[in-house]
Amino acid sequence: MKALRVVTAAALVVVALVLQVAVFPHVAWEGIVPNFCLLVVVAAALVRGPAFAATLGFFAGLMLDLAPPADHVAGRWALALVLVGYVAGLMRQETRTPATTVVATVAAASFVGTSVYALSGLALGDGVAGAGDLARVILVALLWDVLLTPLVLPAVMRLLTRLEPAGAR
């Protein structure tokens, strides 16, 4: 059962990554695409809590950092998604998560994720953008993520809930 959970989580991240780099650029606004990896991490956080989500965020971020066409310093998306997993995991509730909480969590997670990534770039002097571009990217990415939330989050959360070990709550 544990192996199945790991395989499912890995498959979700791979599908998210491919959607993000190969499919959605065709409908992107100025190159900004919805961050599917972040949505998967948020879904995991709301179902399984911060520890699992942070670990998943690390591996999802590592894939974003290493899979082509990425060419930034590795570990930047990993750090961003680890923090996203942790922050979103704090929003987990014992009962079924209300839709408004899910949307608010995605919005906060998107803001935190893109900002942490951009800040790590500033700290490392790697791929720095102007302040205007930065604000625009963070805002548009947030809108994209919130827009895609009703399409992605319920399905992913249901899948992860079904695979949850019995008595975990």
Binding site: V21, P25, V73, G75, V82
Partner: protein, 320 residues
């Protein structure tokens, strides 16, 4: 005086809730576990960043990048092949087939004329300076490997890179020039057997040697990393007294041995010139000819006679 709390024996302090609320030993242990896991993960991220501080040939993470590339490259290529007909549907609905055909023909004609016009002045100068001969011989020794762009780096990553579906099996090597029918696209950063990662010239890390077609002055073009259609380049001439005129065409200067950039590829047009009084130099803004928001078919410049798994377009236009 502060109200005094009921004293807890020192030995029991770790096992009893210090503040009121539903806090139990289990939750405390879980919190400690979570904290140590978070510390481990963040440290792992920082270690990765330190190891990979300069991504490129010398980085210890390059083998991992290559492995990920050879796994993900084919997935991206496959997905892109499936998606391409779907993304073409939009255009199919809005215009009839014949109209579309006409547009394509006119566009290619336009691109040909544009590049001709763009490079005419430059070529004229080259001939006048007897550079044309060597350069033409140089150009004759090159061929193009055609490739499709299959994946785009998200703008959230603040780096402008794409994946193309030609790799070392097709004869593509790092530090080769990538162009399309409009002009210079970028250079190859790294290759896997089936795919290659291309750094676009609008990326902030990209520096291209450029030459003003009208005056033959040389300079360096740096990307500004702008989004979508706002991708512009900054040109700073080596001769600080010289100023390019608005509308001048910039072509590549060319590197030794044609790597990473071959010479004479049109890059863009000067749209604005700013004079910096303090440094008594000029900075020009270049609008690239290539539309980086809609890249599809590109060509990689390879030495003539390269062994490839697909048709290679030779310099005289023949397919091999």
């Amino acid at each position: 005086m502060r109200p005094s709390r009921p004293r807890t024996p020192r030995l029991l302090r770790g096992y009893r809730p210090l503040r009121p609320g539903p806090d139990s030993f289990d939750q405390r242990a879980e919190r400690i576990r979570l904290r140590s896991r978070m510390i481990a993960l963040v440290l792992a991220c920082l270690t990765l960043m330190a190891l990979d501080h300069h991504p490129g040939a010398g980085s210890p993470l390059e083998p991992a990048r290559e492995a990920m590339g050879s796994v993900f490259g084919p997935v991206e290529s496959g997905t892109s092949t499936v998606v391409r007909p779907v993304t073409a549907i939009g255009g199919w609905f809005t215009s009839k087939r014949s109209l579309q055909h006409d547009i394509a023909a006119l566009q290619s004609e336009n691109a040909r004329l544009k590049s001709q016009q763009a490079t005419e002045q430059y070529q004229h100068n080259q001939l006048a300076e007897f550079q044309g001969l060597t350069s033409a011989a140089d150009a004759l020794g090159r061929a193009l490997v055609p490739a499709h762009v299959v994946a785009y780096g998200p703008a959230q990553s603040f780096s402008r890179t794409v994946t193309i579906d030609a790799g070392s099996d097709a004869g593509v090597q790092p530090d080769q020039t990538v162009l399309n029918d409009d002009g210079l696209v970028g250079r190859v950063l790294r290759v896997t057997p089936t795919t290659a990662t291309v750094l676009l010239i609008v990326d902030t890390e990209s520096v291209v040697g450029g030459r003003v077609g009208a005056s033959m002055k040389v300079g360096f073009l740096r990307g500004r990393g702008g989004l979508g259609d706002h991708g512009v380049l900054d040109l700073q001439l080596v001769d600080q007294a010289a100023a390019p005129a608005k509308g001048d065409t910039i072509v590549t200067w060319g590197s030794q041995g044609g790597a990473p950039y071959v010479s004479g590829v049109p890059i863009g047009r000067v749209t604005a010139v700013y004079a910096s009084l303090r440094e008594s130099s000029h900075r020009a803004v270049i609008q690239p000819y290539v539309d980086f928001g809609a890249l599809d078919l590109v060509g990689v410049v390879v030495p003539s006679g390269t062994h490839s798994d697909r048709g290679v377009i030779e310099a005289d236009g023949s397919l091999q």
